[in-house]
């Protein structure tokens, strides 16, 4: 199941991302890489939540920075 998530992110990278004119993410690793890491490490549901939360944080008012999926604090 978690690989469905990973595959979805890759599909996004190859199809939709170019249309959106992707810049560099303000975080490291980038949001899509974070999503892939989160899916691999936490499974589909937690991964989706983490990736969604990360996307919400990746807004113009946030600071960005180094932020790995494994260092997340949402799930214990």
């Amino acid at each position: 199941m978690r690989y469905v998530g990973v595959a979805a992110v890759w599909a996004y990278r190859f199809t939709l991302a170019p249309f959106l004119g992707v810049g560099q993410c303000k975080y490291h690793p980038s949001c899509s890489q974070y999503a892939i890491d989160a899916y691999k490490e936490f499974g589909f549901f937690k991964g989706t939540l983490l990736a969604g939360w990360r996307l919400l944080r990746c807004n113009p008012w946030s600071r960005g920075g180094v932020d790995y999926a494994r260092d997340q604090k949402v799930f214990k």
Binding site: Q24, C58, G64, V66
Partner: protein
């Protein structure tokens, strides 16, 4: 399946807005343009924020170059060091994913909406024959695939050009190789895009042109070197314009150097800032 059901409300909303725009007298094609402009106007506050931070990044470019030089071989380390540098210097990196991703549902929603249009055009064949779906007298039917009429190729050409141009404007901090890839991609996607409804190409064309216009305006408004900023990194700034050819009275060859920056008259133009910059 899941995506489709999530998108249905959005699709309905888009359809409502389209209908509303159409009912005040806009033809369908212009309604799409109008919808695009509404969306982009809603995103303007985000963009202004991004432009401010881009300015900030430019001011710190020399130090960032230094870091990039230092960790040239190690991408991972380089990124981490850059992020640390951002944090130390209170730089808010320009790019962020949310505004980009915010456009995604609209793109997909519009795709579905226009596909539904193509299958069941409101008004039926009679409306198509009446020219309800034509645009500017040269696109006969925006619900048809882009390759069904030569006008579709015109729109495609404008789309590709505007895509390249908007990439140029929005990729200030991007690595060179990535930037080139982004500029090549629209060409690779042409075979797929020709199967899209023309209205969708119209949407992308409009949104890209908006980006380009925004880029041009902000370039003009943005002071090259604000007070208190470090002088520009090195040499002439990259600009879309070719350096002006100044007539040389003695017929000598023009030098490669850019002309020295003209002293601006009056106080430097400043982009209106929020009252308190976060420091």
């Amino acid at each position: 399946m899941i995506v489709a059901s999530i998108l249905t409300p959005l699709e309905d909303l888009l359809r409502h807005i389209l209908n509303a725009l159409h009912s005040v007298g806009l033809p369908w094609a212009w309604s799409i343009v109008g919808l695009t402009i509404i969306v982009r106007m809603l995103l303007v506050p985000l963009t202004v924020k991004q432009i401010h931070s881009m300015q900030n990044m430019q001011a710190h470019a020399p130090q960032m170059k230094e870091i990039q030089r230092k960790y040239k071989g190690d991408r991972q380390k380089l990124n981490e060091e850059l992020m640390k540098f951002y944090k130390e210097n209170n730089i808010n990196p320009a790019a962020s994913c949310l505004p980009l991703v915010a456009q995604l549902p609209i793109f997909i929603g519009l795709f579905y909406t226009l596909r539904a249009f193509a299958k069941h055009p409101p008004g039926g064949q009679a409306a198509i024959d009446r020219g309800d779906f034509s645009w500017l007298h040269f696109v006969p039917d925006i619900t048809k695939h882009a390759n069904s009429h030569w006008s579709g190729y015109v729109l495609l050409a404008i789309y590709v050009l505007s895509q390249v141009a908007s990439t140029y404007f929005m990729s200030g901090t991007m690595q060179k190789s990535q930037r080139y890839l982004m500029m090549i991609l629209p060409f690779i996607f042409i075979p797929f895009i020709v199967k899209f409804p023309t209205g969708l190409v119209l949407y992308w064309m409009t949104t890209n042109l908006w980006t380009v216009g925004q880029g041009l305006i902000t370039r003009r408004l943005m002071p090259k070197v604000g007070p208190g900023f470090a002088p520009p990194p090195s040499g002439p700034k990259r600009s879309s314009r070719t350096p002006p050819k100044e007539p040389l009275p003695d017929g000598g060859t023009p030098t490669a150097e850019a002309p020295p920056p003209k002293p601006s008259s009056g106080p430097p133009r400043r982009v209106k800032r929020k009252k308190k910059a976060r420091r």
